[in-house]
């Protein structure tokens, strides 16, 4: 049971959240027409062993989207920010 410190709600269990995935992939500008960039955004992942910057959604809480730094080898969470405040 991963515990996540939501900036709005405090320490909560992972069951309140849903996971989305890699937060380092950057959506191309909406007017971008090069399909290669879109393919990269939609399909390709670094999939690191170790620290991973990723989106979670506090779906059964404040419904804020969060950006976590989490270790994929140990499941340790080292940081949690609101996506709306995360540097892009």
């Amino acid at each position: 049971m991963i515990r996540i410190h939501c900036p709005i709600c405090g320490q909560r269990s992972e069951t309140e959240f849903s996971y989305y995935g890699d937060a380092t992939v950057k959506r191309p500008d909406e007017h971008e027409t090069d399909p290669a960039l879109w393919v990269d955004y939609v399909f390709t992942r670094d999939n690191p062993r170790g620290w991973h910057r990723e989106y979670w959604h506090h779906v059964q809480g404040c419904r804020q989207w969060l950006v976590l730094e989490r270790n994929t080898l140990t499941h340790e969470v080292s940081a949690c920010h609101l996506a709306s405040e995360a540097s892009s």
Binding site: R3, H75, S84, S88
Partner: protein
């Protein structure tokens, strides 16, 4: 074997009578089933897994490999229970298992004679058969399956209940022995909220195996007394912490008393930022010939039965050891009047210990080891040989061999979190590595300390550290004489050279030394290969007894150190956990939440058949008389087209989209344009995924300048809302838009049929519902029977139709009002099945068509893709293979014959053999009452160019074949005169 008249921690004033294999079994409160069996002289209590060898009680704890019994009867039956962990209770019914007809005369024992053939890897090398295919193996397998397994389980539902608790504390102390008690005391004194969990029925751990009334008892009582004065300490007994999980989470199962009305077990999820693991150690067996005979036991267990349960396990005992700890057993046995010989593999034994033993009248044979136990049904003698090979083996008569080859710390929980423990050669065991950052810290025996004072000091220190810097832990409790509990001095020998007969490493799985030797010979040398090839450590004790001995043997064979050979992975649970406990109450009808619409009760009262739609229950059809679904949907669909019907569509996703950039937002998420939609109007839209595949469709109404009301399909509602929130909080932070789910806040119903306007007009006389005032795709606010409603004129059925939205609390009264007022118009309620028929007749796509693989072109919706603006998926939908002409496109099917097609049937060209993937498949099929024909929607390769073609519909599963003609899927009223009229 006998019960002593004095001593022990049993309550002689409360005798109990249990039943074992149909015979009365006396015991006392405080006994375990195993101690009662021993006291009553039951030597054989079970049969082994493979060779069906006689087995007796071997241990006094959770590591028990032999005394596995089935408890209770009928639906309460509980197979594979360790008799050593079952509390004696009046009326308890227990039975032996894995033997037929009984444990004394078990015909499965013939396997024992054949054991040379059942060597390691036996199954991999045989039953391959001379024939092709799997038939021969499966024929053999039938007999193998019957022979394997242990206890017999029943298929009956469990009559007991379980409950689940989540809690937090500052410090979790796992284990209530000397170290755990010291840890709890230190943390408790500092004011931390402590949970102390002990798997046994009482606190004390190893102290309980000391003679009653000694120094250790006094120590235990004092600590317990103080612990009970601290309100911040919660003490849980019969509570086993089975797993250490992510972050600060521990899983624990507490066994409750089993009183009427109480749950049987309680599953605790404990969140503890710091924990102390004082889980002690388990003794290791000595390996020698016939070391599985009843009468061979762990030395510590013998002592435990003697001092805790007042059971003397043998009159003439042989204590076989390679370390100091077993001397305590020898001395206590001698004091109880048994004749005792210690067979110590070491030539050097501490002088004091030797003198102590000899004073007690014990003979000590140094430099000797047991090489075989002898006896037919139980131990009657032992063969003891000098290790220097000088001299002949001695045969010593005995009825008990108490053996100790050292101790294995219970590192399981630590290892679940921090992986591999380290091997400490001087203690001959694996201990946790020092990890100062770890939030789970070991204390006590689990770290292989040398003396009791260290156990107490360590435990106290870990408890104090875990409680944090504040508060005062006071002074460390004074130690007591722990005896030669764990004084090191380990001899290397756990298995003498020249053992005679079958020498077992894994008792339950009947893995012999020779199996390990063979695995080595065949190259299965990594520890995991060894384990899996021989099945060592895979029995219900998960290698608690066997693993280190097996590793030691493999390391010997490879001429390596144990540390180099490594260890297998420790996995939860520490001891087997009842499935029902972890489920709690979330099962059966409650395994997932049930979502009901605001009008649900009405449907049920009307006798509607319900169908699952995700978590929703929806009215599927309303049977009249003994109608089945087929008859009901035809009647309902025909009635709607002829008259009027009302259907509950409250499950539709509903999202409020608000803010000055709402139209921009809609422009991005929908494929079509939204800037031109005027307030009061509704527009149909399609959404794509980022990869260009169609995600969802629905209608959105513009309620005001900056406010839209969106509907989505039932299935995608939650996903779409979450996706909007993500975009608005990350990539699209520039948009001033807020989205809110209204799915549960609004009831929705669709009123369809030629009479719908007339009926609504009578219900809402103040609102002009004329086609001019309220054309298709527009809405108006109104009241029905004084309930606020919004009437959306729109149609998925092709009929003149209105969707009526009202706050949930008003849903049922509005529905009722419409049904009442509609009676003169012959209104009916119709269900999702006939709603499906109506939308198929109209050619509207739904779930079966929007299956996550189809494009706008496939669906014939390409016209809705704006070329003037980017939208989600607008680039990737043009990927080359998505634009291929060969793709299957949505078409209609006019099906011949009187059976119709079924969804999921395949389409083949006329005359073609039904082989391969065909030309396409049927997605949605129905009888169309409006057309009087069977119709279907289907995807057919390049279908739009093939309209008019005859094809065959093939349903091989149900032996149906029919012909059909490809036509437009807009079957009914393609011009839309009815819905627009």
């Amino acid at each position: 074997m006998k019960r002593l008249t004095t001593g022990g921690r049993i309550n002689r004033d409360t005798p109990v009578t249990m039943c074992f294999d149909g015979r009365d079994l006396p015991g006392f409160e405080g006994d375990t089933l195993a101690s009662a069996l021993l006291a009553a002289g039951h030597k054989t209590v079970g049969r082994s897994f493979k060779y069906h060898r006689r087995r007796g009680v071997y241990s006094a704890g959770v590591e028990e490999p032999n005394a596995m019994v089935t408890l209770h009867e009928g639906a309460f039956r509980e197979p594979n229970t360790r008799a050593t962990c079952v509390e004696a209770q009046d009326g308890l019914v227990a039975a032996s298992q894995n033997a037929w007809p009984n444990i004394h005369l078990d015909i499965g024992a013939v396997n024992n004679l054949l054991s040379p053939f059942f060597s390691a890897g036996f199954y991999y090398k045989t039953f391959i058969g001379p024939f092709s295919g799997t038939g021969f193996w499966m024929w053999c397998e039938r007999f193998i399956r019957r022979a394997s397994g242990m206890g017999r389980a029943v298929h009956l539902p469990d009559p007991d209940t379980y409950e689940k608790v989540t809690t937090t504390c500052d410090v979790l102390v796992i284990g209530g022995g000397a170290a755990g008690l010291s840890a709890a005391l230190a943390a408790g004194r500092k004011g931390a909220r402590v949970i102390l969990a002990e798997q046994d029925t009482v606190l004390g751990g190893a102290i309980l195996s000391d003679p009653v009334g000694g120094e250790s008892d006094f120590w235990l009582k004092q600590i317990e007394l103080e612990l009970h004065t601290l309100p911040n300490i919660r003490i849980l007994t019969r509570a086993s912490v089975f797993g250490a999980y992510d972050s600060d989470t521990y899983g624990m199962v507490e066994h409750l008393s089993g009183c009427e009305g109480q749950p049987r077990q309680r599953y605790w999820q404990i969140h503890a930022p710091r924990a102390v693991m004082a889980t002690g150690a388990i003794e290791r067996p000595m390996v020698f010939g016939n070391n599985d005979l009843p009468g061979v036991m762990l030395a510590g267990a013998v002592r435990s039965y003697l001092n805790r349960f007042a059971v003397l396990a043998g009159q003439t005992a042989l204590v076989a050891t390679n370390n100091d700890s077993a001397y305590a057993t020898a001395i206590d046995l001698a004091s109880a009047g048994a004749g005792v010989t210690v067979v110590d593999t070491r030539t050097e034994v501490p002088q004091a210990l030797r003198e102590q033993a000899e004073t007690a009248g014990i003979r000590v044979l140094r430099g000797h080891a047991v090489i075989a136990a002898r006896g037919r049904k139980c131990v009657t003698s032992a063969l003891v040989a000098p290790l220097d090979q000088n001299g002949q083996p001695l045969q010593l008569a005995c009825d008990l061999i108490a053996a100790s080859a050292g101790w294995s710390p219970n590192v399981h929980l630590w290892s679940q979190l921090y992986k591999t423990p380290e091997y400490r050669p001087e203690s001959a065991c694996f201990i946790p590595r020092a990890l100062f950052e770890a939030h789970l810290q070991p204390a006590g025996l689990v770290t292989a300390p040398m003396e009791m004072a260290q156990i107490i000091t360590d435990g106290f220190a870990r408890g104090s550290e875990a409680a944090g810097p504040d508060g005062d832990a006071g002074t460390v409790p004074e130690s007591f004489d722990g005896g030669p509990l764990w004084s090191g001095n380990f001899g290397p020998v756990w298995c003498a050279p020249g053992v005679k007969g079958k020498a077992f490493v894994d008792l339950q799985h009947d893995v012999k030394l020779s199996d390990i030797d063979q695995a080595h010979l065949e190259g299965y040398v990594s520890v995991e290969h060894l384990k899996r090839y021989t099945t060592t450590g895979m029995a219900t004790d998960q290698g608690k007894l066997a693993n280190v001995n097996a590793l030691a043997r493999m390391a010997d064979l490879q001429e390596r150190e144990i540390a180099e050979a490594g260890t297998t992975t420790f996995r939860p649970p520490f001891t087997p956990v009842t499935i029902g406990a972890l489920v709690g109450q979330d099962h059966g009808a409650h395994v997932r939440p049930t979502r009901r619409t605001p009008i649900h009760d009405w449907h049920v009262a009307q006798g509607a058949a319900l169908a699952e739609a995700g978590l929703w229950k929806r009215a599927w059809y309303y049977p009249q008389g003994d109608e089945d679904v087929g008859a009901a949907y035809r009647r309902e669909a025909a009635h709607v087209r002829a008259h009027i019907g009302l259907v509950d569509v409250s499950t539709l996703g509903k999202i409020a989209v608000q803010g000055p950039d709402a139209a921009t937002f809609l422009n991005r998420v929908y494929t079509n344009g939204w800037k031109s939609l005027r307030p009061g109007r509704i527009r149909y839209g399609v959404m794509l995924r980022e990869d260009g595949i169609v995600l969802d469709d629905g209608a959105t109404a513009r309620l005001g300048e900056h406010e839209y009301f969106m509907t989505t399909t039932t299935a995608n509602a939650a996903k779409i809302l979450a996706d909007f929130e993500r975009r608005l909080q990350s990539d699209w932070r520039d948009l001033k838009v807020h989205v809110t789910s209204l799915t549960d806040q609004f009831a929705a119903m669709a009123l369809a049929g030629p009479k719908s306007r007339a009926l609504l007009q009578t219900l809402c006389p103040d609102v002009d519902l004329s086609p001019e005032a309220l054309p298709n795709n527009s809405f108006v606010e109104a009241t029905i029977a004084e309930h606020p409603v919004r009437l959306h004129r729109m149609s998925f059925s092709g009929e003149l139709a209105y969707e009526i939205y009202t706050p949930s609390g008003h849903g049922q009264p509005v529905w009722q009002a419409i049904m009442t007022a509609g009676a003169p118009h012959r209104i009916i309620a119709y269900g999702t099945e006939s709603m499906g028929t109506l939308r198929i007749e109209k050619g509207h796509v739904a779930g079966p068509e929007l299956d996550g693989r189809t494009t706008m072109e496939d669906l014939g919706l390409a016209g809705l893709a704006s070329s003037k603006k980017p939208f989600v998926g607008s680039v990737l939908r043009h990927r080359p293979l998505l634009q291929s002409e060969d793709r299957a496109q949505l078409v209609g099917l006019l099906v011949e014959g009187d059976e119709g097609a079924r969804g999921g049937s395949l389409i083949f060209a006329k005359g073609a053999a039904p082989e391969g993937h065909g030309e396409g498949w049927v997605t949605s099929a129905t009888y169309s009452p409006a057309l009087g024909k069977y119709i279907a929607m289907a995807f057919v390769k390049n279908g739009q160019a093939r309209l008019g073609e005859e094809v065959q519909i093939v349903n091989l599963l149900e032996n149906q074949t029919s012909s059909a003609r490809l036509i437009s899927h807009h079957f009914f009223d393609p011009e839309g005169e009815r819905q627009n009229g």
